[in-house]
């Protein structure tokens, strides 16, 4: 009952900002005649206010960096500070009291729940068992970052940072370098090159095809960040566009409500997919007893 109340309020707020959305969309059009729907957000409003008061440099800066800096730090900084403060409080108490193995309090229990969930998810995704433990921080932060960024666009007056190719390309490049460096560290430099050529020590046939497989594998490795970033960007930008397109159809009627639920669903699914793909790329560069090129195309 109260959930519907909240959802209706959010959508009413979105509907009433539609008038502003249309006006600002025509102002923010890149080149003449581009009709992309976008709901107004706080940074746009602040940047336009700055422009009116004559502060053009600050306004340009805000408009240019609205996604990466402002929205990302808006959602990630409080969460990160909360996590760090909880960690400090917990470890400080553990030094002093000997019965601190029982988690106490809301913060500690909440974060332990989240960390345990992420650790299980990573272990399942990597399939490496104990050796996969060292990658839980990376995969876990990737998951939380993408999830919070995707969901941010559903709050009125905010915009998802992942709805622009800048953020998603950055994430994909980070994953690319992590995977390659993990490959070099796990297999050795020479072993990594051999792996890229598809050569297995015991099998003489793979030596024959190495010269064919090497460009193929290198190309597929280079395409992986492209496909990761484009998939996340397309899904989240498309969902935001869908929401914005439905906001003002009938004035003050929240027609975009069913699409809100679809947007929540696709936000979760896209983070899972991105993180699982990152896990599977990491696992494909490690020695496992069973893996052997299970999921390896772009």
């Amino acid at each position: 009952m109260s959930l519907m109340f909240i959802v209706n309020h959010l959508t009413l707020l979105n509907s009433s900002t539609f008038g502003m959305a249309v006006e600002h969309a025509s102002e923010n059009a890149e080149s003449g005649g581009e009709k992309s729907f976008e709901l107004t957000n706080l940074v746009q409003l602040i940047s336009q206010w700055l422009e009116k008061t004559g502060n053009e440099k600050a306004s340009n800066f805000m408009h240019l960096f609205e996604n990466p800096i402002f929205f990302v730090s808006f959602i990630i900084l409080p969460i990160a500070i909360w996590a760090i403060v909880t960690y400090r409080r917990v470890t400080r108490g553990a030094d002093r009291e000997s019965r601190a193995n029982i988690p106490k309090g809301f913060n500690q229990n909440f974060w332990e729940m989240i960390v345990q969930g992420l650790a299980d998810f990573t272990e399942q995704g990597l399939g490496l068992g104990e050796r996969g433990r060292s990658y839980v921080p990376f995969i876990g932060s990737l998951f939380l970052f993408i999830l919070l960024n995707n969901l941010l666009g559903l709050i009125p007056l905010f915009k998802s940072p992942t709805s622009s190719l800048n953020t998603t390309l950055g994430l994909a490049i980070v994953v690319f370098f992590t995977v390659q460096i993990h490959g070099i560290r796990a297999l050795g430099l020479f072993g990594w090159i051999l792996h890229l050529a598809g050569i297995e020590r015991g099998n003489p046939l793979t030596y024959a095809f190495a010269i064919l497989m090497f460009p193929l594998h290198v190309l597929s490795e280079l395409i992986k960040p492209m496909s990761l970033s484009l998939r996340l960007y397309g899904n989240i930008f498309g969902e935001d566009l869908l929401l914005a397109a439905f906001v003002g159809f009938v004035a003050f009627v929240p027609l975009q409500t069913p699409f809100y639920f679809l947007a929540i669903l696709t936000s979760f699914i896209q983070t899972m997919v991105f993180t699982l793909l990152a896990c599977s790329y990491l696992a494909s560069f490690s020695h496992t007893p069973e893996s052997h090129h299970e999921v390896q195309h772009a």
Partner: protein
């Protein structure tokens, strides 16, 4: 005769057609496997989601091409 205005939505439509067929086949196989072995549902679901993401990505590429060319529509 606005050829671009005709071809852009048609491109997304054809891409959606292909991905719909592909996704249907993938999910059918996943459902069959889940029915045969209910204790492996978690792992099958994970693999199915990864496979669906790959197939869906191709439609998203077509959508991105539409976004890129949108400004050239008259």
């Amino acid at each position: 005769m606005d050829l671009l205005g005709l071809s852009l939505p048609l491109a997304v439509g054809i891409a959606a057609l292909g991905s719909g067929w592909g996704l249907g086949r993938a999910i059918e196989a996943a459902m069959n496997a889940m029915g045969r072995q209910p204790e492996a549902i978690g792992r099958i679901q994970t693999a199915m989601l990864i496979g669906c993401a790959f197939i869906e990505a191709l439609t998203i590429y077509a959508l991105v091409a539409v976004f890129l060319l949108q400004s050239k529509l008259s």
